[in-house]
Amino acid sequence: MTVRLLSANHAAALAAALAGRANRAARGFCSGVYPITPSTECMELLCNQEIEKGEVVRVESEHSAMAVCIGAAASGARTFTTSSSNGLALMAENVVAAALLRLPVVMVAANRTLGPPWNIWADHGDTLMLRDSGWVQLYCADNQEVLDTVLCAYRLAEDRRVLLPVLVCQEGFVLSHTMAGTDVPPQERVDRFLPPLDLPGRLGETPRVMGGIDVPHSTEVHRAQHHEAMARVFDVYREVQDAFERELGRRPADPVVTYRADDADTLIVSMGTIASTVERAVDEARARGERLGSVRVRMFRPFPAEQLAALFRGVRRIAVLDRDLSLGFGGVLWGEVRGQAEPGALVQGYVIGVGGGDVRPEHVAAIAADLAVRTTAGRPVLMEAGA
């Protein structure tokens, strides 16, 4: 164990460098990077890493950063990039392209509010904007989880049953700039966990076109294949967890992380670090005798609908907390979660912490109190966390 005091940005960069070196016996590593607050320190540290058979290209935009990853991945290399907010918005065209070309690119997003008006603080709206881009999306709650999830992301993305890009999300500043004790595994153990990438169908010498015109029927087939690959992620991820535990000695978190949910009559569903706050509020509520539990949706795409439906069995009251707002609709997570509850269950959406508002346990307690006295679910409640 080499526990170091690291920010999530640095944890992600070290994970990417470890994964990059682990591919030195194959086609190597090539990353395209461009700075944007709050993901910048991730690319800065990556640019200062010695990576055998590795290149980090300092490009002129996020659009090109993902394009470099697309070219490098097409050539069979392991790739990485990182961005936030408007950077992801500019990159979006190539984000979609990487997925539709079925390239196992790994990206870390430091979640940040979209602008202008400019706001550099945490909001899940930037990566949720990419919800339908065809990427696997994982949301983390602490720095160790970020490091471990980046390593898992490569093994998952490169599995021949999956072959999809993976987006690892961590909230700006809350994680990206907050130092925490983080175990950085030695290279030889990562080498064992991440075998050299042998990408099927990589661009070689044979004349072929990646991205050739898709007529309607071939598009239908390709989308179905992509969708089926998404469905296989749950089983493959379980194998990735097993392999990680075997090689690195700890078990990465499940797609859905529960806390004191087994006997709960009321569940609070959230993503990212808000779930950590919810867990503290659950402890306080339990001390008062309330049967509150927490459900953290860690894997957002593919969406763990069956796991959630199983957790919601017999639960009458569910609050869904969104650090995002789909304007004209409500929380994105709420929109997806509510369909998994049993008929007659009360599922209420709360939008809290948008624009980086500091969500505290007392906010969660207020939400639990509001939920307890409701007779029916209403329109999403927009809360001000302030600060």
Partner: protein
């Protein structure tokens, strides 16, 4: 650093390799880009090549999945990202030392307009990429809209009265990046074209080739006359055939005779100049000025008008 001695080497006999553009492709008859691809096949010979083609007629020409009319491994990239995708391929090719030459084959829209930022950045980083811009002076694939490569006076679907603005000097822009090699190519002068393509293929670092590619559909010209139109553009001095080494050593490869008749023919054989009434007289001064600039940069200070 390259030297000019390469210029005196006679071009090797063109050997027909596997064609880059196979029969059955969907390009229009008389497509200048098709001709440029075929000439490029001859330049390639046995070299290992990977192509990046951003959204364009050349991308559509590849045909529907899973077939391809392009005789090379190709990534079809998003419109503005050709140079950046080529960067990824070229870096990994270099890491693996497999000698693959990475070529970005893009139209004028993907070069002068939407791809300009990624092109400029790849040139600045001196990526080991050969960038070929086939310039048909129009957004051909979307049905013929103006680009910043469209010359003043040309009618397009969104400048029906003729484009008011001047065409960008792309070779000057790329030379200002001090790229290893930049050259303009004429499909009417295939030996010069093949020589430059081979020279560009065998240099390392960023190289840029500009090919004037007649588009009969957009130019409203006779498909059979494409090569002749380019010959007229070269003869009249409208399209200078030059090469620029390291952004400063400019060599004029073909001396025009500045024929007014050639210029009149060039304009009259294309319907796109009809509505604006662009005339040879109206273009003469701009051509003379561009040649005074070229000669100053080439070190041959001979006024253009004295060379007639």
């Amino acid at each position: 650093m390259t030297t000019l001695t390469v210029l005196s080497t006679p071009p090797a006999a063109p050997a027909r390799g596997a064609p880059l553009l196979r029969p059955g492709n969907s390009n229009c008859g008389g497509c200048g880009m098709s001709m440029a691809l075929q000439i490029f096949s001859r330049a390639l010979e046995q070299r290992r090549v990977q192509l990046v083609v951003p959204a364009s007629c050349a991308a559509v020409a590849a045909g529907p999945f899973p077939t391809t009319s392009l005789g090379a491994p190709v990534v079809l990239s998003t419109f503005g990202a050709g140079s950046a995708v080529a960067t990824g391929l070229a870096r990994v090719a270099r890491l693996n030392g497999d000698g693959t030459r990475v070529v970005c084959w893009a139209g004028d829209g993907g070069t002068y307009d939407i791809g300009m930022a990624s092109l400029s950045a790849a040139a600045e980083r001196d990526e080991d990429v050969l960038y070929v811009c086939y310039d048909n002076e129009i957004y051909g694939n979307t049905g013929g809209q103006r680009s910043s490569a469209t010359p003043a006076g040309a009618s397009t679907t969104n400048t029906p009265a003729g484009k008011p603005e001047q065409k960008k000097d792309i070779l000057g822009i790329m030379a200002a990046h001090r790229v290893r090699y930049a050259a303009s190519l004429s499909i009417a002068h295939p030996e010069d074209m093949i020589r430059k393509m081979r020279r560009a293929l065998d240099l390392t670092g960023f190289r840029f080739l500009h090919v004037l590619a007649p588009c009969p559909t957009g130019w409203k010209s006779e498909p059979a006359l494409g090569i002749e139109l380019v010959r007229l553009a070269v003869r009249s001095g409208l399209y200078p055939v030059v090469e620029i080494v390291d952004g400063r050593k400019l060599v004029i490869n073909h001396e025009p005779d500045f024929s007014k008749e050639a210029l009149e023919l060039y304009l009259s054989l294309q319907m796109r100049f009809q509505r604006s009434g662009l005339s040879a007289e109206g273009l003469a001064e701009a051509i003379a000025q561009s040649w005074r600039d070229l000669r100053a940069r080439s070190g041959r200070i001979v006024p253009a008008d004295r060379e007639r």
